[in-house]
């Protein structure tokens, strides 16, 4: 078992729902976790599907929260967005963009294939220095509250299993195969280097 806790990054598109749900659970279980989004903006559902609320990554959760309360408190309470933002602001101040983070991780977990592609593209475009490997695993999660919660538990279980391996890199393949069978979903998995 590795002496240090896994350094985990959970990445979704807007660093609001899926990644934050997982961030929440993983940090409660004692992981060294950070969460990110890969999108160019932070998007939250708006009054209509074609009218999302768009923020940049500098906007804090608090500001978004206040903005939405002002716009339509009823609606955003009802669809759970305010509740989510409230949770998020207790975890950290603002969403973070994966591409802007230079910290190194052992494990990056993405929440959908598009995000996985973006993470891979970013990691591969970086100049290699230390050759320190980072495993990137994609766990497909639909972007809604329920799936996010279920997905977060799955991610957490996965991280715990990885954490408990004697030799993570050697056992990762097999572990993921088992997980695929158990959870009936395919995981994309690759390794990149810092």
């Amino acid at each position: 078992m590795p002496a240090h806790p896994l350094r985990v990054a959970v990445v979704c598109s807007s660093n609001q729902n899926r990644s934050m749900e997982a961030h929440n659970i993983l940090s409660k279980r004692g992981f060294d976790v950070r969460s990110f989004g890969t999108g160019t903006h932070v998007k939250l559902p708006g009054p209509a599907p074609d009218k999302p609320n768009i923020y940049d990554f500098k906007t804090t959760y608090e500001q978004m929260y206040n903005d939405l309360v002002r716009k339509d408190k009823e609606l955003y309470t009802q669809n759970g967005i305010l509740h989510m933002l409230d949770r998020n602001k207790r975890i950290k101040t603002q969403p973070e963009r994966f591409q802007s983070c230079k910290e190194q991780f052992d494990l990056v977990i993405t929440c959908e294939e598009r995000v996985y592609d973006q993470v891979l593209e970013d990691l591969n475009s970086r100049e290699q220095e230390t050759f320190q490997p980072v495993h990137v695993i994609n766990v497909d999660i639909q972007d809604n509250h329920e799936e996010a919660t279920l997905g977060a538990f799955l991610i957490c279980e996965l991280c715990q299993c990885i954490q408990h391996t004697d030799d993570m890199e050697n056992e990762m393949d097999e572990l993921l195969q088992e997980f695929e069978e158990k959870s009936h979903r395919p995981f994309l998995h690759t390794v990149c280097f810092y």
């Binding site: 240090h4 806790p5 060294d32 050759f131 490997p133 030799d167 890199e169 393949d173 998995h189 990149c192």
Partner: protein
């Protein structure tokens, strides 16, 4: 808190934070003192704290005060034996930092790194590899700078080279992570050991890194050529590693990335890289799981794009974009990733690919000896592979005609695996441009790649030959330059290896380097406890077979034997070609019968995949199984055989479209049919599409396997009551054929009877009521046997008498067909009629009806029925079916009883008698002519039958207008009129005939006149009718009236006073001569209003209802012909006729009234209800016809019928009027 601290230290400079904190608390200390104190602390505290402290020390002596580095080096290095992995990893990190800070330290630390490389923890080894990746470059750069290399430095480099080889060897490590790190090391090594060129895409941070081009060719120790060779060999190793069939997904991903980096940073390798990608894409390792395949493909795409973006990919754009297309990228996306400079080429797309290749090949040929324009000569072997594929592809291209390709596909079909491998499934993209030149070229290349990989093809041979030449030439030229350093390096490597393993032993070596070797090794010596040394080198083990070879586990044995059998299975085609398939079949059957479970199922599955082609195998297996069973007698079990047979049969049964009789063959040739097999056969028979084949098989079984024939027969018998019509009827027809066999007859009969008896005995157990369907199920078999064996009919009668009413009803419905089949000449049927068991009357009646429905009854049948009727059951209804077979007087005798039955039955009787039944032929048989019938009705003794029924019966006759034509009626009237005494209903019939046929009026006048002669007034009822008739037929009747004797004429006027005046006027209109003929007495009656009473006292009314009845039509008839002139009398009548519905309602209760006294047995009611149900259809038809015809017809014609149907109602209404007229 602690945890996160440790975590973050690795990737930030947080250590300095701790350091500064520490500094604040101990601000007075010198750096050196601080380090000492920290190191002292570190020896005592826990791992996590130790790491923090050590990081502080590192920060202090490397960054803050490097002068201290040398002093404390040994103290830090001492931690390399720490128990904690993390601490040991820290030491490696420290070595890296220290050596980067002061390259000279390499001399002292390289041996320690070497030792840590062999650490027992993979994580330490991995860290060491990472560090080595950096330090290799550092060391090379450092040495290159030095003009004159010392012995110690040489030894250091040699060790570095040795470690490098060790890491390359780790590509074959057991550990996935270690291999991954080794790949990355190899990548970095190749980049270092190859020249950077202007088109190299070098990351900024590695701008200053050493590479082959910076190495002076005249260096005293470092040999340019050697390094170049090493680089090439590393690349070869990497490429070889990549094509390993069992490569893990992560290693593959890593290698793909490394190749992309190589291609971009060293475009000279572009060709090898693209080719490796091509090979990989065509041969994804079969071991990959599905999701891994998609991951790998994703990576391949990503890296191909990054390679494509490099300007030097120009020559390979064709190949790369073909690959990308295969990977699911769209052409437009590919175009977007293609460097702009190649725009003109891109338009041709596929063309440049070939052209480029050709040019390249030409170059290759020319440049055999000369280095390629990209400074370095290409590694000869890879050039060989490259051109081998090209050559083979060129060779294949013209051969790929549609015919050849089709043949190839057909041949390779045989070798396709049963299950689509995940890699194929994921990589398969439909061939978009099949048949185009581009696609054929692509195909040729794919095949060439495969062939070259397998060591085949003309290209490879050509290349081999060429390589040999090249080597010879190279050998001559490069001997002096390349051989020497190689030897030196090897020597030193060997000696170093020994030095390491024998720690601290000073050895006397001849070469100058060896003197230095102990020094290199001495460096870690003070730090190393002597006991540690064997640990480091203790990895070498003596080879023992037992250590390496372990006994297989059960599962492994199982797996291996399964695979062995599978191979025999799959070799079907090959063996068939060699003509030894019988051996294979025997072998398989023998082998498999000896194993349990999986293998058998595999084999069975295999057989079922192509049962037709593998039937020989199937039979062989089956016989072997049976043989196995026999050999184990008496204790042997049939289970295994049964399973085999069962699986094969059900496999065939479940497969659609298997019409070649294989199933039959298997069943008939199986040594034993087990119960479960029989179940499958039954299922097979129940399949509507195969029922015939199934039952033929079953029949064969029954006839040819006498030992269990009853069991098989039972299956067939059971199917005879199957719910599917087709199954049932087929089963029945088979059984019928079996029934002819004497020895099966009993069994079948017994079964049928048992089934039939269910109707009586199962009654108690069946909760749900008997439905027609269930009754039918019990009877199917029986009824189909009945025509074959008439004797059985008595059994039915026996069961019938005991069954409940519902069942009886159903039975009566279903027996029609078979009874008709038996025919009325059947002695057994006649016997049944003769005996007519008590309770089976309805059954017999039904039989009679069925028999005589279409055909006139035979004399024998009539005889039996007559007998039955007279001697045993005097129910007149028995006679109905055979009524046409009876004597005339018998019919007349029975008439009173018959017409008292319910109207529908009466109607039927009349239909039979009058021949108005739907069928032909019976009318000719009728014992009575229509006229005779009507006359017989008039002559029925009123004591035997009430007048109402008679009237209804006559009305039925009048209803048959086709039969009772005016001529018939005239004859009837004539005959009736001649009778003495006159029949009561005479005048009613006369009036009714007149209504139907007004043209009979003249004839009627004649009748009336003749009646006067017969002193009609002596019959009160008839007389009454006479008057009405005259009333109706005036003025024709005036002449008749004038013939009446005066008292009777007066009586007429008494009844109808309004007649007098017109008659008088009629007389007045006579010529005087004519008037003279009128007797004076008559004239007196005409002119004077004489009040003479009736000449004779009215006799008592015997039949008051007759008057009513007779009265009924009268007012109506009167009203009808003269509706305008006589408006008053008809007033009440229309009211009556506007309400036909109540009349119909009344029919029902009345029918019951009539029947009640008739019913001898309760069941009979049911029976007749049943018949009514059937007859009502006809009745309703005729009703509707009459209803329709009513409308156009004169109402008067319809009325009598209607009236007769509702006598009560009418009598109430009509009575007052009749009363008036009669009282007056």
């Amino acid at each position: 808190m602690m945890a996160s601290g440790v975590g973050e230290q690795a990737h930030g400079s947080v250590a300095s934070q701790f350091y500064s904190n520490e500094e604040e608390t101990a601000f007075d200390m010198t750096t050196s003192e601080k380090v000492v104190e920290l190191l002292n602390q570190a020896a005592l505290i826990s791992t996590e704290e130790k790491l923090i402290v050590l990081k502080q020390v590192q920060e202090l002596i490397i960054n803050k005060d490097p002068s201290l580095l040398d002093n404390f080096l040994d103290e830090i290095i001492a931690f390399q034996t720490d128990k904690s992995i993390e601490v040991r990893k820290f030491v490696i990190g420290f070595i890296e930092e220290a050596c980067k800070r002061d390259n000279e330290l390499l001399l002292r630390l390289i041996a320690n790194l070497n030792m840590l490389m062999r650490d027992e923890s993979v994580n330490v080894v991995k860290k060491a590899i990472l560090t080595l990746t950096q330090l290799y470059k550092v060391a090379l750069q450092w040495l290159v700078r030095i003009k004159s290399v010392s012995d110690m430095q040489e030894a250091c480099w040699d060790m570095m080279t040795q470690i490098k080889e060790d890491v390359l060897a780790l590509l074959d490590s057991d550990n996935d992570g270690v291999r991954t790190h080794a790949i990355k090391f190899t990548e970095s090594l190749i980049i270092t050991l190859s020249p950077r060129t202007p088109d190299s895409d070098t990351p900024k941070k590695q701008e200053g890194d050493i590479s082959l081009d910076k190495i002076p060719k005249d260096h005293t120790y470092i040999r340019y050529d050697t390094l170049c060779e090493e680089g090439k060999s590393a690349l070869e190793q990497l490429l070889k590693f990549m094509v390993h069939p069992a490569i893990s997904s992560i290693n593959l991903t890593t290698a793909l990335g490394s190749l992309a980096t190589l291609a971009r940073q060293r475009p000279m390798f572009m060709s090898e890289v693209v080719q490796a990608y091509e090979t990989l894409h065509a041969n994804l390792p079969p071991t990959l799981a599905k999701s891994q395949v998609s991951s790998v493909r994703k990576n391949l795409k990503l890296h191909l794009v990054s390679v494509l973006k490099h300007p030097s990919s120009v020559d390979f754009q064709g190949q790369i974009s073909t690959l990308l297309l295969d990977l699911g990228m769209s052409q437009s996306e590919i175009t977007r990733c293609t460097p702009a400079t190649v725009q003109p080429r891109k338009r041709l797309h596929h063309e440049p690919y070939v052209e480029g290749k050709r040019i390249k090949m030409a170059e290759d040929d020319e440049d055999k000896e000369e280095p390629a324009p990209v400074v370095t000569p290409k590694p000869s072997s890879s050039v060989g592979t490259q051109s081998a594929i090209d050559l083979t592809a060129e060779f294949l291209l013209p051969l790929l005609t549609p015919d050849n390709v089709a043949n190839l596909v057909l041949i390779s079909m045989v070798y396709l695996p049963e299950v689509m491998p995940a890699s194929f499934q994921a990589t398969y993209t439909p061939v978009e441009s099949a048949g185009t030149d581009a696609q054929i070229k692509h195909l040729a290349r794919l095949m060439a790649t495969q062939m070259t990989g397998a060591g085949l093809g003309p290209g490879l041979e050509l290349c081999k030959a060429r390589d040999e030449e090249v080597k010879e030439e190279d050998g001559g030229a490069g001997e002096s330059s390349s051989k020497d350093p190689l030897i030196i390096r090897k020597l030193s490597a060997v000696s170093l290896g020994q030095a390491i393993s024998v720690v601290g032993a000073p050895a006397a070596y001849k070469s100058p380097i060896t003197e230095e070797a102990p020094q290199i090794k001495k460096l870690p010596e003070p730090i190393l406890p002597t006991s540690q040394a064997p640990g480091a080198s203790g990895r070498k083990k003596v080879f023992k077979l037992a250590d390496v070879v372990q006994p297989f586990s059960e599962a492994q044995i199982e797996k291996l034997s399964n695979m062995a059998i599978k191979r025999i299975l799959l070799s079907e085609k090959v063996i068939a070609q060699s003509g030894m398939s019988h051996v294979r079949v025997k072998l398989l059957a023998r082998l498999v019968t000896q194993f349990e479970g999986g293998k058998k199922n595999d084999l069975l599955q295999f057989i079922l995949e192509d049962m037709r082609g593998r039937s020989e195998l199937a039979f062989s297996l089956l016989y072997h199984e049976y043989n196995e069973y026999l050999s184990q007698q008496p204790s042997g079990s049939l289970d295994s055989y049964e399973h085999c047979l069962y699986t094969l049969l059900s496999g065939l049964q479940e497969k659609p479209e298997q019409r070649d009789g294989l199933f039959t063959k298997l069943v008939l040739e199986a040594p034993v049919i087990t119960d479960s097999a029989l179940e499958v056969i039954q299922r097979y028979c129940e399949d509507e599409s195969r029922v015939y084949l199934g039952m033929s098989t079953l029949k064969e079984l029954i006839l040819k396997r006498p030992s269990r024939q009853y069991q098989y027969l039972n299956v067939l018998l059971n199917l005879s009551s199957h719910e599917k019509e087709k199954v049932r009827s087929t089963a029945l027809s088979f059984i019928k054929r079996m029934y002819e066999k004497e020895h099966l007859k009993d069994c079948i009969e017994k079964f049928a009877l048992t089934y039939m008896q269910f109707m009586v005995y199962v009654l108690i157990f069946v909760a749900s009521p008997w439905t027609e369907e269930t009754v039918r199920q019990c009877l199917y078999l029986y009824l189909s046997l009945l025509p074959l064996n008439h004797r059985l009919v008595h059994e039915l009668a026996a069961v019938y008498t005991e069954a409940i009413a519902d069942i009886k009803r159903s039975v009566l419905r279903v027996i029609e067909q078979p009874i008709r089949g038996m025919g009325m000449s059947s002695p057994d049927l006649l016997l049944l009629v003769e005996n007519c068991p008590k309770g089976a009357e309805t059954l017999v009646t039904r039989c009679l009806h069925i028999l005589t429905d279409k055909v006139p009854p035979s004399p024998e049948l009539v005889e039996r029925v007559r007998d039955l009727y007279h001697k045993r059951v005097p129910d007149v209804r028995f006679l109905i079916p055979v009524i046409n077979g009876l004597e005339k007087n018998e019919v007349i005798q029975a008439l009173p009883k018959l017409i008292k039955l319910n109207p529908i039955v009466v109607k039927e009787v009349f239909n039979r008698l009058l021949g108005t039944q739907h069928s032909e032929g019976s009318s000719s048989m009728s014992p009575l002519t229509p006229g005779e019938l009507l006359i017989a009705l008039h002559n029925i003794d009123s004591s035997k039958c009430d007048m109402k029924s008679i009237i209804k019966a006559t009305n039925l006759c009048f209803g048959e207008k086709n039969v009772y034509t005016s001529e018939v009626l005239a004859v009837v009237m004539q005959q009736l009129m001649e009778q003495t005494p006159l029949p009561i209903l005479l005048m009613r019939t006369v009036i009714q005939s007149l209504t139907m046929y007004p043209r009979l009026a003249g004839f009627v006048m004649n009748i009336l006149a003749r009646l006067i002669l017969k002193q009609v007034w002596k019959y009160p009822k008839v007389w009454e009718g006479f008057v009405k008739c005259c009333q109706r037929t005036k003025p024709q009747s005036y002449n008749v009236l004038l013939q009446l004797p005066p008292p009777q004429l007066a009586s007429v006027f008494e009844r109808c006073p309004e007649m007098r005046e017109p008659l008088l006027q009629h007389v007045h209109s006579f010529t005087p001569h004519q008037q003279a003929h009128i007797p004076a007495s008559i004239m007196a009656v005409l002119e004077a209003n004489s009040r003479k009473p009736e000449p004779e006292p009215q006799p008592e009314l015997h039949h008051p209802e007759i008057i009513e009845e007779r009265e009924v039509p009268v007012p109506k008839h009167i009203s009808m012909p003269a509706p305008v002139s006589q408006a008053e009398p008809p007033a009440p009548t229309p009211v009556e006729f506007t309400e036909p519905p109540p009349a119909q309602q009344q029919q029902i209760p009345r029918r019951e009234e009539v029947e009640e006294p008739m019913e001898p047995v309760q069941e009979l009611t049911n029976d007749f209800n049943l018949q009514q149900v059937e007859v009502t259809e006809e009745a309703s038809q005729s009703n509707s016809i009459s209803e329709k015809t009513d409308e156009p017809m004169e109402e008067s014609a319809a009325r009598p019928v209607d009236v007769a149907d509702q006598p009560k109602e009418e009598s109430e209404d009509v009575l007052p009027e009749a009363g008036e007229s009669s009282v007056d």
